[in-house]
Structures are given as structure tokens and as C-alpha cells.
Amino acid sequence: MKDFAALKRNLKKDASALKAIKVALLGDTATQFLAKAIQGAGYEFGYNLQLWEADFNQVERQVFDPSSELHEYGAEIIVIFQSAHKLLGKYNKFKGNAANFAAEELNGVKALYDTLASVNPKAKVIYYNYTEIDDNVFGNFANKTALSFLFQLRKLNVLLMEFAAEVPNFHICDISSVQNAVGKSVMFQPSVYINSEMVLSIEVLPEVAYKTLHIIAALQGRFNKCVILDLDNTTWGGIIGDDGLENIQIGALGIGKAFSEFQYWVKKLKNRGIIVAVCSKNTESIAMEPFEKHPDMVLKMDDIAVFVANWENKVDNIRKIQGILNIGFDSMVFLDDNPFERNMVREGIPQLTVPELPEDPAEYLEYLYTLNLFETVSFTEDDAARTKQYQVEAQRATLFEKFANEDDFLQNLDMVSVVEPFTKFNTPRVAQLSQRSNQFNLRTVRYTEADLEALAASPEYFTFSFTLEDKFGNNGLICVIILKQQSADTLFIDTWLMSCRVLKRGMENFTLNTLANFAQEKGYKYLKGEYIATVKNGMVAEHYSKLGFEPNDGFWLLDLAEYQNKKSFIHKK
């Protein structure tokens, strides 16, 4: 992490080639340095943050005045930092029953959010939670009385979490946990506060700025999806090939506790939807043995989506894993205790995240916690099933090798698809795909749940979600289409995105057949598509031309009068 001076120097660099994001920052303390830190950190993350900063202590005025500069600015992301210090000031002057203080403050935050959402329904709000201040008026007894400030502050943080859990566009940046990590004496420098009204020390500004950027990047669809584990001395202590099953350190043996706890962490990631893969220099059968037989192993074969153990180099093996999973290298994390392997992988695949694990395995977890490698802005039940889906994908890859031609293979898969408009049941997953899909995404317009609900209710839009199931298993909802009526005879394809795990199944043909037939029935004459290039979606640059659309003034047009259904092995369920 760069220090504040270095982040500030980033502001002098040319960011015009980077993706521009409009961000507004409002605070009840002086935020000039925070603004610079966030902007400078944006550059580190590859964004050109166009940051508009409200004047000092203008949060309410800017939000509640419909003609304010904030509303005129039209930010995509609105960061609100109301400090614990000002909260304490309000508490000090609070006239009501102190036990109700947190609930009333939450109402204030809700009112801010509701107003923001009504003026700019697409805006994402990032709200900083409250760093703990213990005024010690009650001592430890503060925990036993709802009247204490500490009680109310902690309660407010919990109320904020509950509110955020309900509201998709309201995100919390957990600066309270930053203070827990660095300590209050680092977080807050009283002399600076007294002289400048700044409550964040210069030293901690980068921490807070990076934490904010983690959310911003995740909102842009950039986050890690997979962790690749080395085995010997990373997943367990010792070397399985030399030490044997009984002597590897895990559970109670030696420093096994460090590895057990590490494995519990990986297991929780897997349950959350992070794909776990193994890449180890070992004989495969020996490497699998602990997963199958060791009673203290937390991770089992079921938890591993792709297992690669051989004596080839790790760069090639990680490429192989990437090929099976079909996700970007920049969404993968590689954990290996060996600095030599790490460097080789870093050099071979620079996009990969390769943490510099501490030498002592006892410190692995604490170090990994500090990196916040797995930020996300959504979580659905589908996530938990992801490992299974990728395991099945590996089986499909094996079957594919057996068939002489692709059609036979596809026919043999017995594929069926459920096609439905957006409903309250599938909208969370659709929103998530909208946030996550980078490669097979024609226009990369990101929609939140709230956006999608509005679209589904609008008569101008037609929405489609597609699932795909075959004899190996169900991929779940993997394709999303949003059509917009552009004129009496033309439907515009506002969104066409698909999960890359169903590439090469003829899903594109099936989707287009569905759309064309729908449009024909409704009496439209044309489907109009658009490709907006991003760094990542090169794979669909020729999408519309391959499907028979004709170029038309920067767009792609399909004449439905001449449309013949394309070959597809997928059946509608």
C-alpha cells in the first residue's frame, strides 16, 4: 500500500486512459485529504475517479436540497463519511432518551439514503461505519447500559449492517475494522483534528481509501473468484510425499493448528462461492490421499473444483486450471509458501494475485485477513453451489474428448433451458451476473436489483433469463437478455450477457432463436444489437456478425423477415 504522499502524487499523473467513474464525497468533518487519498488510490486500482467533494459539513444540505450541486453532478457512487466524533457531539447534545439515540441516528441515515435513491436510483451509496470511541463515562459498565455512548455507537453499527443487508445499493465501508487493525492511536491524531477538523490521521488515509476502492472495484465487477492452493507447507505442514499421511502437520500434530485454521478459512470461502483449486508438485494419488483419508483434514475432495497435481511447472498448470474454469487470471489468487514458485508464477502470469505469504505458517491467516482479497457486493444461494458446477465442468471436458465432433457431443449432453422474465426470485442472481460478467457481455451496462425491478415493471422493456441444465448437472441461471422497444418495428438488445462457464454449448443460437421468435410474435421487424468494447469483452467483438446481424451505422441489425431458426441442441423446459 502506498503512503499518502505517494497517492497524492498520483493526482498529477495522466489518468485519461483509465475508466472514468463519477464519485461524490460528503462528510461532516474536513475531507480534503480523504478525497485526495481516494482519488490517488483510484489510480492505483486503474480508475480515473472524477471526484466531486461537498463543502465541509454539508451532508444534509446537499442531499435534501433537490437543486444542490450533488444532485446536479449525478455521481455513480456517493461516499458518505459521518464521523464518530460528530456522532459523540450529537450524543452529548441529545435531548431525548439516550437509549433511543442509535435508532434515531439510523432514521437520519435512512432519510439520507431514501432521498438519494429517489433522485438518482442508480447511484450506489458507500457509507462509512463508526469507529469506536469509548468516553469511559461508565467504564466497563457501558456494556451493561443502553444509555452509554459506546452502547449506542455499537448498536448503530449493527443497525447499519441490518439496513445494508436489506438495501442492495447501500454499502458499508468498514472503517471500524480499520481502526481495530491499526489501533485508535494510529487512526486518530488529536493535534491534527484540533487544527484541521480532520478525524483520519495522514497515516491511515491510504488504508481507508483502499478499503473504499475495494467496494468501488467490486461494484465495477472486479473481484476475485478463485483461490488456487499449493499443498505441502501451505495447506498442511510438511511434505506428503516424504513425510507420509501420518506425519503431515494438521490438527493436533506439531504446528497443525495453523493449517487447520487456514483450511477452515478456505472452506468458508468455498461455502461463500469462491472456487477452490489445487495446484501442487506431487504425484496425484499421493496428493489426494490426505483429502480422502486424513481425519483432521477440513478440506475434502468435494471442496476442490479442479485438482491438478503433477511434476510440470506451475505456470502451465495454472493456465490449465484457468482453461477449465474459464474465468480471468485477474480474478484468481494463488497461495504458495515457496517464494521461488511465487515469483515464477508472478512472472509467467502477471495478472494473477500472488500474496507474499509470511515465512511462518502461524502468520498466514492474520496476513491474509489484512489483504481483503475477496471483496464482493452480492451474495446469493447460487454462489454456494458453484464448486459443484465447476467440478461438473471438468467432467464435461473429459467427455468432450471422447466425441469425434462437437454436434454429437452437444446432442449427448441432453441440454434443457428454463426461459423466464425477471421475477423476484431470479432478480438477485440476474443482478449478480450483471455485476460479474466481464467477458461475454456485449455492452457491460451494470444493473442492480433495484434497477432490474424497475426494468421488469416497465412496458418498454422485455426481460429474459435463461438457465441451462444437462445430464451432468444444473448450471443455474447463466444468460440474461434485456430488450428495449426502440420504435414500433425495432427491439434494441440493451443487455446480452452470459456466464463463461456455458461457452461452446450453442447457447447463443438458442438465445437468439428465443429472442427472434418472441419479437416475430409481437410483430417487430428488426432486432438491433450493439457491441461496446471494453478491456475484457474482446471474445464477443464478432458476436453479432457470427449470428447473421448486418452492420448498420455503428450498430448491428437483424431482419426478422428472413430469420431461420439456428441449429441448437438445447430444449426449452
Partner: protein, 79 residues
């Protein structure tokens, strides 16, 4: 530490923090003489000086200096 030495090190901190190699501090230098030395950057300078010399200024000191000489006086008293 000699006064001249302190000023030399201070000069380094100023150049580094304000990203400006043309800065040459003397006892009589005032904020207006140095580009970008405004009240906000003053705070960043103070924190950088504290870090460099491993000392802490009081809140009162931070806004009491009228020129670099007085800053050096405060600083020298803590070394």
C-alpha cells in the same frame, strides 16, 4: 543537532511532501514564500516532520509558528 542541520533536514521534508525541489528554507521563510504551503498542506508537513524527527507537536504549537525559524525553535526544543 545543529540548527543548520535541522533546517537542511526540514528542507528535505518540505521538498518531498510538497513535491517541489526548488524549496530553500531559511529562518525567515514564511508560508506565503513557498508554493502550496497552505493551511491544509501545513498539516501534512507537520505530520511528515513529526515522523522524520520522531517527535510530536502539541495542537497549540502547530498553529503558533510565524516563520520557519519558530518552527525550528519548537523542534529543537524536543530533540
Amino acid at each position: 543537532m545543529e540548527r543548520q542541520q535541522i533546517i537542511a533536514q526540514l528542507n528535505e521534508v518540505f521538498r518531498d511532501t510538497l513535491d517541489n525541489d526548488d524549496i530553500n528554507l531559511t529562518d525567515t521563510t514564511i508560508a506565503k514564500d513557498v508554493e502550496d504551503w497552505d493551511s491544509l498542506n501545513h498539516i501534512q508537513l507537520v505530520v511528515a516532520i513529526e515522523k522524520k524527527f520522531k517527535i510530536r507537536f502539541t495542537a497549540k504549537e502547530i498553529h503558533s509558528w510565524e516563520n520557519v525559524g519558530q518552527l525550528v525553535d519548537s523542534l529543537a526544543g524536543k530533540l
